[in-house]
Amino acid sequence: MATNVPPWPGDFESVAQQYWSLWGDALRQVGAAPAMPMPGAAPGWQQTVDWWAQLVPGGQAQVDEAVGRFQRQASQWFGQMQQVAAQFTGRDHDATDIGRAWRSALGMADPMPAHNPFADIFRSMQGGAHGLDGWIQQLRPWLENLQRDGDRWLHVPTFGLTREHQERWQHLAQAFQDYQQRVAEYDQLMLQVAQDAFVRFERKLEAHAEPGRQLQNARALFDLWIDAAEEAYAQVALSEDFRHAFGGLANAQARLRLGVQREVEQVCTLFGMPTRTEVDSAHRKIVELERALRRATRAQAAPVRRAPVQRAAAAPAEAPVPAEAPPPPAPRPAEPKTVKKAVKKRPPSRKPASAAKAAPKQRAAARKKTAKKSARRAVAAAAPLATRQERMPAAASKPARARTTPQTVPKARVAKAPKKTAAPASKPAAVVSMKDWVARNAARAATAQAPKAARKTKRGKGK
């Protein structure tokens, strides 16, 4: 490929022609040119990229996908930005001029443009195998046919032999109508994003007007636009309006999808084909059977399975075993030594405090409810380990599940009131950078190692 830059011909189309010529040279070098028809005269950036994408050997899914993504969207936006940049070479300009040119390039000079490329970005993201847009486009004629008689038809009472069918079709048509409205609401927000992005873009450009801060190439201009667009989008995407529009759109899509699925199932039933509802039902039964089987198997296996070590922290300070409490699960054959060791090792938790502060209202309500049930629970509610005590019966009712069983650790039950474990490392009060932390520990380790090494060396010398 030639590396000498030809002189500026005066306009971008000529530049395109020029790099097309360079491009032709490059292709001749890789031997691709003869096989591909050259597009018409004066091709622009996008044609170049399209042609290039055709020349990239296919067959590798990852490469194809990345090239496709580049070709479909990124290159178009960048190509347009190149053209905008070309308009301002060699002449005085300001941020407003560039902003106006960029709006025009995107077809958004009108405040209410016929087409919003911002919305296209989001549609293309949904355009995968499960995206609704393409699918709805295919169904549109049929759905519009349903709506042909207008709103009136959608709300008339249904009767007669086909009453159920009419009603279903009405719901489907209403779902389609609702979906269209939701799409319009969403697009409106995207238009708002676009308009705000232009304003932000101009503001950012103004900040670059001073000498020394000026943008040096089209790519920098493009990156600045991306920053502006992201900022504008983030503001809208975090708003209540967006939350409402997004939720509404997703729900409308789901309703429409369900409606169409019902129609498909009708047809399947008509021809004796299995439906998704039936398959789901079969799957549900299998899963439930599998769960029942597992519970039974685990219940059998439980007595010989090693129980987890009960931590001292898990036991209440002085939790009396209530008379009405369900019988505890059979003690597991945990080795006393291990349990003792674990009790010693495991520091008590501060869960009472945490549990109380996590959700005071819910916990207070739970305590109240619990207090009514039994005297034991009333004690427990006042004590810090209410939640754990509530869990005990649940665990007892599910002996199959290998859960902590306070009864297996009588020592823990008489343990002193929970106290906080002292962390080996100092507890961070504010943000602790991982980099600093690692460096500090490495230094500490090195310091600890140094005397040992010195002793070793000394001993070695002595020998």
């Binding site: 491009w23 070098q29 990852q62 993504r69 991306i226 975090l238 509404g248 945490s354 996590a358 991982m434």
Partner: protein
């Protein structure tokens, strides 16, 4: 020349020419990029339950750590997210430090898995894997490293089975789902998740990925691919790029019921903070997480804002709580060069201080 732009026509022509040169170079390099391999470290299947597999990573030297370290990642990811390539592998770093590293591979759920619930994921698969490690290692409890949603699962698991978790590490894990900067969470608030799952069955991976792209649509859909031009003449950089693409877009569909429960209990009800999470009918209270906890969050995380992770400190039961901030984003914390330098060391040091 006055104005924000300061380039001449010649400079613009030069820029265009350079781009054409890059495209041209791409015609040479792209065909040379063979099958891009993922997963740098050798691993061995040690346990399986249906589609869920527990792997043990095999390092160049035998592990010095006595307690297994189980990595639990999010259902939308694949296990190679922590072992992408030789110079971007959290696993490799941990192995090099002497840890005995395992990962639970959730597999690709299909329609027959639609009715899997959080109870299945936590009390069946995760508990099964932990029990296997306890049995095989002879230890009463193992170390667990939960990542993102896997961190939320690990917290639930540790609260329900505190005796089986010796030390818990959470990385970029959401705890408070209702921080004001949590875009994903905000979007789910008005989602009728029952209707959604009823309509879709399993939640398609494409749909989930589209949601993640929507968090930064212009950067992730436009700017990133324009940036691809810069590396078209660099085969190795293209391979790295393609690996990342795979990392991002190779996602399993999500089991419908588990998704329904996760969205309702975590995203919509903010159950870790407000209470009300139930797994298999049992309440989850993080007050029961009484083992030492290391919580690592990323400062520029656009998926799990730092505040969402840091909320753990206020709800977790342990007094031995360490919190570290990583300078990077949600993906950079696994694959950036900074991550390779800092994350395995931090985890290893922290575990080492608690080794008994």
């Amino acid at each position: 020349m006055n104005g924000p732009l300061n380039f001449t026509a010649e400079a613009l022509a030069q820029e265009a020419t350079t781009l054409v040169q890059k495209l041209s170079a791409g015609l040479h390099t792209l065909p040379e990029v063979g099958d891009v391999h993922y997963g740098a470290t050798q691993k061995q299947e040690v346990w399986r339950d249906g589609k869920v597999v527990l792997y043990r990573f095999i390092g160049e030297k035998a592990p010095t750590a006595k307690v297994p370290l189980l990595i639990v990642y999010a259902l939308v990811n694949r296990p190679y997210m922590v072992d992408l390539q030789h110079d971007r592998s959290l696993v490799k770093g941990l192995l090099a430090q002497g840890e005995d590293v395992y990962v639970i591979d959730w597999g690709y759920p299909d329609r027959s898995d639609r009715f899997l619930e959080l109870d299945d994921y936590i009390n069946r698969f995760l508990d099964g894997a932990v029990d296997h490690l306890r049995d095989s290692s002879g230890r009463e409890a193992v170390n667990v490293l939960g990542i993102c949603q896997g961190g939320a699962f690990s917290l639930c698991y540790a609260a329900l089975h505190p005796g089986k978790v010796k030390n818990l590490i959470t990385m970029v894990t959401p705890v408070d789902f209702h921080t004001p900067d949590n875009m994903l969470s905000l979007w789910t608030r008005e989602l009728d998740v029952d209707l959604f799952v009823d309509a879709l069955g399993n939640v398609p991976a494409d749909m989930m990925n589209a949601c993640y792209l929507m968090l930064k649509p212009f950067r992730l859909n436009l700017q990133k691919y324009v940036g691809l031009m810069d590396i078209l003449d660099d085969k190795r950089a293209i391979e790295d790029f393609l690996r990342m693409e795979k990392w991002i877009f190779d996602s399993p569909d999500l089991a419908g019921e588990a998704f329904r429960q996760f969205i309702k209990q975590f995203y919509q009800r903010n159950g870790f903070i407000k209470g009300g999470i139930e797994i298999g009918g049992e309440p989850v209270d993080l007050g029961f997480v009484d083992m030492p906890v290391l919580n690592i969050y990323a400062e520029q995380d656009h998926l799990v804002p730092p505040a969402a992770s840091r909320a753990l400190k206020g709800v977790v039961g342990t007094a031995d709580y360490t919190e570290l901030s990583f300078k990077g984003g949600h993906i950079g914390i696994y694959v950036s060069s900074r991550a390779q330098r800092e994350v395995p060391s931090a985890i290893h040091h922290w575990l080492g201080q608690r080794a008994r």
